[in-house]
Symmetry: C3
Subunit: 274 residues, 3 copies
């Protein structure tokens, strides 16, 4: 058991911060690995919203140092047959339920083309193990809180340098969400949807900058047409399209809340034309 | 003054995260003990709700390493005659106002049988000191923010290894809340109440798994009868009873918010029948 | 490049905790400086509210150890002509946009007498540099998220001991907000305003204890007259005035929310009479 220096453990959950759940996970981690450095990604994922968690993960995980242990617990099937897994690739270590919440650890090319989550083959360069080894779990494992009883202990041991293959048997497929991309219509327009609304009311759309030609484009949304891109939020006059910091097209409203002004919600359809 | 390695300081308050209060406490701790590792339990306790803080503490404190310094500041009487205390037992160190917020550091058997908080004798194996020694407080102590001026400096010094008896005189009684338990009626039913509603809308009830026979039971709540236990949240069909991760009975609603569906709030009565 | 021991990095933003923005900043900092210790001040500043951020900073920054690197990102002009700066004084290091958010790092005497933010000369003992040096930024700098791409890398390098003059050219003026103080009328009354409402509903007023004679005073607010000071929140009977923990006069309501009871909001005028 080699102990790598300074492994960081990040936590992403839908537990909120009003209960003791997140703190219990941190206590478990620190009780196993007293030097662990724990960083919160977010605990404000809407309850059970696996796809939202995957999007938030995608905007934050890539910035952490190599070897970071990323834990994601959005787990509507806790205690059921869904597996608990650890995924290791060349970049980092990922721990969570096998329900798609770890999807952004996979290349887009391995993720399903369909609209729904489905099992995909574990790609080359990635290893996945099921978290079954009892000695890396709490002595008593509840059926309702695997964040505390299975995922936190696994993360602590992994951050201490326990090799992932010791935590359980290898598996060769995992559940993945489709990548957040648009589909091209016959007329060349992109049939997309709102994938996230951030704190400022910017509505993030499932179209990436590289999907567009590089010039002007328009977004048809909620009966309106919004044009862009503007270069900065400050340049917007009224509603405007912009390429946001995650590489996706966003609809913004200067000094205002675009999503509220348009009345749009996550999942609403939009059409983007280059 | 021996310096124990790696003492962790946890913080539990009703300060929220919109103001500078929590950060001021952290600054004070780090200015005294630059290596302190600080972990948030929660700062979202409803304002002045000592019992809620005690419940959240009970679900998180036991998972931290031995010797952790736990600070709880829910303090409606700040600046009044209520004492500021440190409690030390074989497991950890607890700092806060003497208003019951540290109750979960005491065995249930020492806590009052009555419904209201009351002064109880400090049990064997536990020591309590009043935080009166000025040199372990900020130079200027306000009457409105003892979290920053008294509790944070005390925690920092304790985490550095200052012996608790140096912080003030021993006291032999402290204020304790009644344990979160139900009372048994003549007909064998348990007269209980809702003690917490978590982020998912699960309504936690003041009955522990060990209070029940181990078989099926029912909960009479808000004019409804909810049966259980189901084993996992995913197994519930509609409203169901489950034994939650803190060992208490909970009312859950699959993919929904049980408390909202029932219209129940903390304090509402329920009757549990085994 | 001397590496000072144990520099802490604090973060103050309006990013909220539901998105991945704050975590992306932390990842960037840790990827550059794996030992950085990061402390959150608050991420719940209302979107784009620079003055609120400055007030919260003022209540927290002074309590941190000397040499702390304080980052504030409330940045409505991100990507526009506004400068990104680092300010160094004898106490600490401050990083953020040049829009007034760092004002509390300046002495009140240097801040504008007018009601609006304006450019002021950098005072003696303070140095300010524009963050232009590309090698201390991420390889790819977006126009919409300088928190991640410019401010976080700057903070990480500064915490590692990179001298601030290496990050860009010195500048001799910065944007400052007026200090949070009242103006005296001909009749001796103080024309003030509500500058903050805290989680408990206490309304903080732009009058400091030292602006008053030390005896009784009254606050005319929302058609009411509130008297004080009471010494502690617990002593208040109904609405009362108190000198709060930040040194400002506050309007409080025992076991209640004063701001809601009065219907006041940030910016509302009040008159204080000694």
């Amino acid at each position: 058991m080699a102990i790598p220096p300074d492994r960081i453990v990040t936590l992403l959950t839908d537990f909120g911060l009003s209960d003791g759940y997140v703190a219990a996970m941190k206590g478990v981690i620190l009780d196993i690995h007293s030097q662990a450095r724990i960083v919160d990604i977010s605990h404000q994922i809407a309850p059970q919203q696996v796809a939202q968690a995957s999007f938030v993960a995608q905007t934050a995980w890539p910035y952490f140092p190599p070897g970071t242990v990323h834990v994601a617990v959005v787990d509507p099937g806790v205690g059921s047959e869904r597996r608990a897994i650890v995924l290791v690739n060349e970049r980092a270590v990922f721990v969570g339920p096998d329900n798609g919440v770890l999807s952004s650890a996979l290349p887009d090319s391995c993720r399903p083309a369909a609209l729904a989550p489905e099992a995909v083959a574990v790609p080359d360069g990635t290893r996945v193990f099921e978290l079954t080894e009892r000695r890396y779990q709490l002595d008593s494992v509840s059926v309702t809180f695997h964040g505390r009883d299975i995922f936190a202990p696994a993360a602590a041991h992994l951050a201490l340098g326990v090799r992932p293959e010791l935590l359980g048997q290898p598996v060769d497929s995992i559940i993945a969400l489709p990548p957040l991309r648009a589909r091209k219509s016959a007329d060349g327009s992109l049939q997309a949807s709102v994938i996230h609304i951030d704190r400022f009311g910017n509505a993030v759309v499932s179209v990436r900058a590289e999907d567009l030609g590089g010039g002007q484009f328009s977004i048809q949304v909620a009966g309106r047409v919004v044009r862009g891109p503007v270069r900065t939020y400050a340049e917007a006059a009224g509603l405007a399209a912009i390429v946001g910091s995650a590489g996706y097209v966003e609809i913004a409203l200067k000094d205002g809340d675009a999503a509220a002004a348009l009345g749009v919600a996550v999942g609403d359809p939009v059409v983007v034309r280059g």
